[in-house]
């Protein structure tokens, strides 16, 4: 009897140990990703430093001078534009699903929006390159240019030859890709609003929109903020869709119709072609910067969403 109990206890310890090791692997992998990327970046860090690297606009594989400014700029500008377009649309979708959609349609419509998130990014890239970019270049962008071009300061944003392979097209595609992420998280936090709060607002005569604007949205602030940051992380790290339609040009673009480059696209296009240690190391350095930005953003988002859940 005692030996059976002993054996079972040992087996239990063993199983607990095995499951712990599997869980611990996640921690180990994250730490080793940081360490190995840092290790591989050392050559570039030695050569360019940190502020020197992120402030330099040079990207010249021939002379072996590298800087992250152009790709960082491309990454941030496309992400910000995508967010500007995605946030109102996703809020609208969340409002529609929680407040307006007939009950039987809810799961169907919810799934449809989530399918947008399931479509792989390479498909967004194919569609963007062969269908959407030509449409933009031929119809939408010339139209925008005609409307906004003559206006003094704003006009400059719409200057250049509209080819469709540019920042504007990329941002729109990115915004479509991140919309379902914001919409589904916001929708969940919207649903957490206590019914009593909503009913008391209706009770004093508020319209449906006023309930959304003054009760539901303020109540869901943390969730909205968290979801936006998660979406930002997505957009920063998006590779394939952007690789098809951004044009991979290392320059600080001032027009929406200029081609640009992001960290991810630079990695995708140049990683296997990097022929010198410094070149490859600079690419690893870019990856490290991207990973760090992404990690910090997600950590911030997590604390916001966790705080919401505790209330």
């Amino acid at each position: 009897m005692a030996s059976i109990i002993k054996r079972e206890q040992t087996l239990d310890k063993l199983f607990s140990g095995v499951t712990f090791s599997a869980a611990f692997l996640v921690l180990a992998v994250i730490v080793s990703i940081f360490i190995s990327l840092f290790w591989e970046s050392l050559t570039a860090i030695d050569a360019f430093g940190f502020f020197g690297f992120i402030s330099s606009t040079a990207w010249d594989p021939v002379r072996e001078v590298f800087g992250a400014a152009t790709t960082l700029y491309g990454t941030l500008i496309t992400t910000l534009l995508a967010l500007v377009m995605a946030i109102p649309v996703s809020l609208g979708i969340a409002i529609f699903i929680t407040e307006l959609c007939p009950k039987f349609l809810k799961p169907i419509f919810g799934t449809a929006i989530e399918l947008l998130a399931a479509i792989p990014s390479i498909i967004y890239g194919m569609w963007g390159l062969f269908t959407f970019a030509p449409l933009m270049g031929e119809y939408v962008e010339p139209l925008l240019q005609r409307i906004f071009g003559p206006i003094p300061l704003i006009g400059h944003l719409f200057s250049g030859v509209p080819l469709g392979i540019d920042i504007l097209t990329t941002s729109i595609i990115l915004s479509i890709m991140i919309t379902p992420f914001i919409a589904s998280i916001v929708r969940e936090t919207f649903a957490l609003t206590p019914v009593q709060l909503k009913e008391s607002a209706y009770g004093i005569g508020a319209t449906r929109w006023e309930v959304v604007k003054d009760v539901i949205i303020p109540y869901s602030k943390a969730g909205i903020f968290g979801s936006v940051i998660i979406a930002m992380g997505r957009a920063l790290g998006e590779t394939m869709a952007v690789a098809f339609v951004l044009g991979n040009k290392h320059a600080i673009a001032t027009s929406l119709f200029d081609a640009s480059a992001t960290i991810t696209v630079t990695l995708a296009n140049e990683f296997t072609e990097a022929d010198s240690d410094l070149y490859l190391s600079s690419l690893f350095y870019l990856a490290l910067i991207l990973l760090t930005m992404n990690f910090l953003l997600l950590a911030i988002a997590k604390t916001f969403l966790a705080r919401k859940r505790k209330i």
Partner: protein
């Protein structure tokens, strides 16, 4: 009265905008899917699945090599990723549920789910491809497994947490040790959920391109040797779409069609199973 009328108008406008946003979301989905369908369906021929790549311009080429490569890479990724993910999720939901390390790893996995997949590619390049000196199918599987593990781990954790604690207590009362309770009671209760999680995780990695670019790389020829550079559908789509030939573009569309249908099918199947199992 005018104040009320004004508020009513604002209400109608705002809610119409919300409807418009919803319509816009649906519009993009239909636009993209219809486009993939329109371009892809005409290029689906038996030859696509049965033939290997032909030189550009020559008729009769297919993507057999890419299909087989994709299957092999995914298979090995699943082989590494699923057991580790399930075991890790078991720790988080059972042994480690009240320990700080459990909560910490759970949060960390959530963050890791959002780590850009191309960064995972560079990592695997640094620790696997560079030391070995060549691209390989195994490296691609490793990259996909790393992406997959946190996804499986978190769904397993959530699904196991849904199993009522009383059921475990009933088993404990019979004198069962914890590991037997987990293996024979908890897993049985959470099986459908975990299975769905696996489906969704496979759907997630099946469309990944970026982590394969510099791990499994690409190959124009059929190979079943996982130690060699391996073609995959997604990388082939990228290469063919960026290439100058029309028949390459057609093949890229055909592959896009197949991959989209596969992923959407898995995703919808997963949703239906969840809906059916957890509707109450």
């Amino acid at each position: 009265m005018t104040e009320i009328a004004k508020r009513k108008i604002i209400n109608t406008c705002a809610l119409s905008l919300a409807c418009a946003a919803a319509a816009l979301g649906l519009f993009w989905l239909i636009f993209i899917l219809a486009d993939v369908l329109r371009h892809g369906i005409t290029c689906i021929t038996p030859g696509l699945f049965l033939n290997e790549a032909a030189p550009p311009g020559m008729a009769g080429g297919g993507l057999k090599h890419a299909f087989i490569g994709q299957l092999l890479i995914t298979f090995f990724a699943v082989l590494i990723g699923i057991p580790l993910g399930i075991l890790g999720g078991t720790y988080l939901a059972e042994y480690g549920r009240h320990r700080w390390i459990g909560r910490f790893i759970s949060t960390l996995s959530d963050i890791m789910i959002s780590v850009p997949s191309i960064v995972v590619g560079t990592f695997v390049y640094a620790i696997f491809v560079k030391p070995l000196g060549h691209f390989s199918g195994y490296a691609g599987s490793l990259a996909l497994a790393i992406i997959m593990i946190p996804v499986v781990l978190r769904t397993t954790e959530e699904m196991i947490a849904l199993v009522p604690w009383e059921i475990r207590e009933a088993a404990f009362a019979l004198g069962a040790p914890y590991y037997k309770v987990i293996l024979q009671v908890v897993y049985r209760g959470a099986a459908t959920g975990i299975f769905t999680g696996i489906l969704l995780a496979i759907a997630r990695i099946a469309g990944e391109t970026a982590p394969l670019l510099f791990t499994s790389f690409n190959n124009m020829f059929l190979t079943t040797n996982m130690n060699e550079p391996m073609p995959s559908l997604t990388v082939t789509i990228y290469q063919y779409a960026m290439g100058p030939y029309d028949d390459w573009h057609e093949m890229a569309w055909a592959a896009s069609f197949v991959i989209t249908m596969f992923i959407l099918g898995l995703t919808i199947l997963g949703r239906i199973i969840i809906h059916w199992r957890y509707k109450n």
